[in-house]
Amino acid sequence: MAYRPFNIAIPEVETGQVLGATMLNSYGRMAGALLAEAQSEYSLAKCKNSHTSTSTSYATKERRWIVHSKNTLFYAIALRSDVNSICYLRVWDQTRGVQLAELQHQGNTWQFYTGTVANAFSAYANGDIIELQLQLRTAVSGLSANAWIFAVGQQGVINTWPGVPAFADGTTSTAQDLNDVRDCLLRLENSKVPATATLLASEPMNEDVGDDVAHTIQNAVYRYRGNRLVVFVEGFAVNGWKFWVDIYRCSAPSTKVGSVQGSWADAAWKWHGLDIDMAALGFTLGEWVRIRIYYQRLTGPNGGWRRVVAYRSGAPTPTWSTPRLWAEGDTAVGNAELSKLASNVAQLYAGGALELLGQNIATLAAPDTVEGDGPDRACTGIHRKRWLLVKQHKSEPVTLTYGPSFSLSETLPTVREDRWNVFDMDEYELPYGGLYILTGIDVALESDLAPVTD
């Protein structure tokens, strides 16, 4: 299901007003757009390996960036410590120089923490770019503290939910009924829909591995939604190569849930993919999932990998009722049609079968200096938002590659290598829902908001 950003206005109605097809369709379109937001393919986010610290002073382990749109901080992090120490992990707002959250844990088994901090970002205006730092320390010098940072970012909150009305046949209509539906839709749209789209920041590529052992080529996370996970790797090895995907629950980050692999022999660079049935592994809606992707050359000589694409995919769920497309003269304003709308809206809310997962995950660099500075840094992703934000890597050209077999390519006209560059993706041939690769970047993400760039 392709996703296209929406700009739908739903009118507020009043008693005595004649109902129009345009306004009824706007409810259906908004609900449909929210469904698309929830159900469309979306890229996994890069996740780094677990971090360790033996220092009692906070040290920055990760730098992440986000375009401000929601005030609430969320995190999904696992912690572990030496039994005789305590692990401290804090989320630091580097832009303002303030601590947003601090977690602590004692015990040498991984403990998964998810939570939110209200109003953590209330000092920002929409469109501000915020740098977050994830900092780790231990309570006792020399004893280890470990953190696995799966995701951190912003999340919308729905404080009150008006609930969807019943449209019982034979009862007199009210403006309030439709305004309640509108209210629900707006709350879902305003509070839970991500304003940024994650791109998968690549880890360092390796075009000639020089051995026949397994290499970790990418770690990534996402929140599970039924049911497919698609992974592509660009690789080659004349005498055979394979990649495989190990799958873990973030709540038990050391316990592998499954592993899927494929193998090929290619004399030239080529993309190969795996389409993984995640439902078979027993995941439930909203569960945080970590994957690790490996490359291995079967035998030499030569062989390596370049890019990785990983995205969630899945067929639209059959529980969704296709809303009626209303036209002038329709005489079906009854429970049969209106309850479809109400039912769809209810499913999008928390606890519903199609619940929107509205987190905006702050993005990592690709790769950062710890992972090794290298040429041709890249990220991959599915185009979902209009504005592409890019931090150029040094003065390397930023190249957008997309289209059939990634055969189309353009160099983006970056103007500031030290600052964020903003591109209007509507100016390129890349359709919403299309896969693309960006090279020459340090950090890149997509946003609904054309952000503050200086």
């Binding site: 206005a9 129009g20 034979g170 007199t172 002038e328 005489t331 079906a332 009854g334």
Partner: protein, 506 residues
């Protein structure tokens, strides 16, 4: 919406041949907001009155989207002893500055008309509220008159131009309310619009044009009623208002003096094309660059007007050394002596540069302004085609409105417009005694048995007049048939949820 006649006998007196006409005219000479001061009741001097309220578009002769024409009134007064003559210091001009200095320009005027009832006495209703635009003394041998040409309150925002900041995500009626209130027109009765505009701003265009463009973008219209209240009526208003659903008067041949039918085949179209231009929040861009050096004398300020290349949702105040470089004629840095203030709207800014140095002129180099632009997409088109075959070939009507920004909005407007234009529309002009409570948009029944005319029709033009001691009314009427595609529309609060239900509109 018809004026209330509760407690009066106007319903019977208006077509009684013996009911005595009453005309009352007031002018607020001292501009204090009421008509209670001495000299402000000028009814005793009235010779003739002619008023026009029209919802009809000048091109199509139909009530199309946006609004009609500005209300007008022509007021002919006896002018004994040059009482109203602006140059006569012995007349009212000697008392009222509004006459002496401005020839009564923008003096508020109210005109009431009605009939004298045998029991209640004079029963009048307001027929016009506006302001004087022009005073024209008409004095010759044997004749001493003065004609005031007046405009409704809408007439005084015809040339009212403003620049504004951007307002985001506002309904059309909210925008209209905002700009009307800012212009001092607070008497408003506005339907809740069905359209929300993502961005809206004023860019120096006449305010009335801007507000009517907003109204048209919602498929509705904006006009001022007889009491001077600004009314925004959405596309479905005539399907909702009780006075547009039930005839408010029967205009019969018994009191009619003239009827004229005018068929308008020339204005029949087979399709309507509406173009729209999407708008979205854009990134920070340089929207103004000054290619010249701005020179500010010592201890002085210079103000420059900066027109932006694109409208901006917000604008940043220029930052020294980033957006401008102040220097002395010798090139030394003058930042510590340079201050800059900016007042910005969506499309322009007034920048005041102050040089605090007592003796050295300041040169401002490379001045630029950055703002978050409103990204306006390419225009796209929506087309509505008629299913009727009343005319040969294809005749397209084009709707162009900068505030059409969404496809569904454009489709709504196109379909609504096509409903009006796909058939020849007959405007019935009825002339007879003044029915004083009628307002634009009211439904009436017009009957003339000789012509075979017996039809409900909407009042789309009203011309109350007084001359020779008689009250008259020319009413332009749009027959109700096919103005909307059907009837029994689903009305919130009245219709029931059921299948089949009442029908939905566009």
């Amino acid at each position: 919406m018809a004026q209330s006649i509760a407690g009066t006998n106007l319903a019977s007196n208006w077509h009684s041949p013996v009911a005595e006409p009453v005309v009352r005219v007031y002018a607020d000479w001292d501009l204090d907001g009421d008509y209670s001061d001495a000299d402000e009741d000028i009814s005793g001097y009235v010779l003739r009155v002619s008023i026009a309220h029209r919802l009809l578009d000048a091109v199509y002769g139909l009530p199309v989207m946006g609004g009609g024409r500005v209300s007008t009134a022509s007021l002919t007064l006896l002018n004994p002893a040059h009482r109203f003559t602006p140059e006569n210091a012995n007349g009212l001009a000697g008392t009222y500055a509004s006459i002496a200095q401005r020839k009564a320009y923008r003096v508020p005027v109210k005109i009431e008309m009605g009939y004298r009832d045998a029991v209640n006495g004079a029963e009048v209703l307001t027929q016009f509220v506006g302001q004087v635009e022009n005073a024209d003394p008409n004095e010759r041998a044997g004749q001493r008159m003065l004609v005031y040409t007046c405009k409704g309150l809408d007439g005084f925002i015809e040339r009212h131009r403003i620049y504004s900041t951007v307002r985001e995500d506002q309904r059309v009626d909210q925008l209209i309310a905002h700009y009307l209130t800012a212009a001092g027109l607070t008497a408003q009765q506005l339907d809740k619009a069905v359209t929300t505009l993502p961005f809206a701003w004023a860019n120096g265009e006449p305010l009335l044009d801007l507000l009517r463009a907003f109204a048209a973008a919602d498929g509705g219209w904006l006009y001022w009623d007889k009491a001077g209240v600004a009314r925004y009526e959405r596309a479905t208003h005539w399907l909702e208002s009780a006075d547009s659903l039930t005839p408010q008067a029967t205009l019969t041949g018994a009191v009619a003096t003239q009827q004229r039918n005018e068929a308008l085949y020339r204005n029949v179209f087979s399709s309507v094309r509406a173009s729209y231009t999407p708008m979205a929040h854009g990134p920070l861009r340089v929207v103004y660059t000054n290619d010249d050096v701005v020179e500010v004398p010592p201890a002085a300020s210079t103000t420059i007007t900066c027109e932006f290349t694109q409208p901006c949702s917000t604008v940043r105040t220029p930052v020294v050394q980033t957006d401008y470089s102040p220097a002395s004629p010798a090139g030394s840095d003058m930042a510590s002596h340079c201050s800059l203030t900016m007042t910005a709207t969506a499309t322009r800014a007034e920048l005041t540069v102050t040089n605090s140095h007592a003796s050295i002129p300041l040169y401002l180099y490379r001045l630029r302004i950055r703002g978050y632009i409103i990204a306006v997409g390419d225009a796209q088109e929506v087309r509505a085609e008629t299913a009727l075959t009343l005319i040969d070939g294809q005749r397209d009507h084009e709707v162009s409105n900068p505030w059409l920004v969404r496809p569904e909005q454009a489709a709504f407007v196109a379909r609504r417009m096509l409903t009006l234009l796909e058939r020849p529309r007959e405007i019935v002009t009825w002339t007879g005694r003044l029915c004083p409570w009628l307002e634009l948009g009211d439904l009436v029944t017009v009957q003339n048995s000789a012509q075979g005319l017996d039809t409900p029709a909407y009042v789309v033009g009203l011309h109350p007049s007084y001359a020779g001691g008689a009250l008259r009314m020319d009413a332009e009427l749009l027959p109700q048939a096919n103005v909307f595609p059907g009837g029994d529309y689903f009305t919130l609060g009245a219709s029931k949820y059921q299948t089949p239900s009442d029908r939905v509109y566009f």
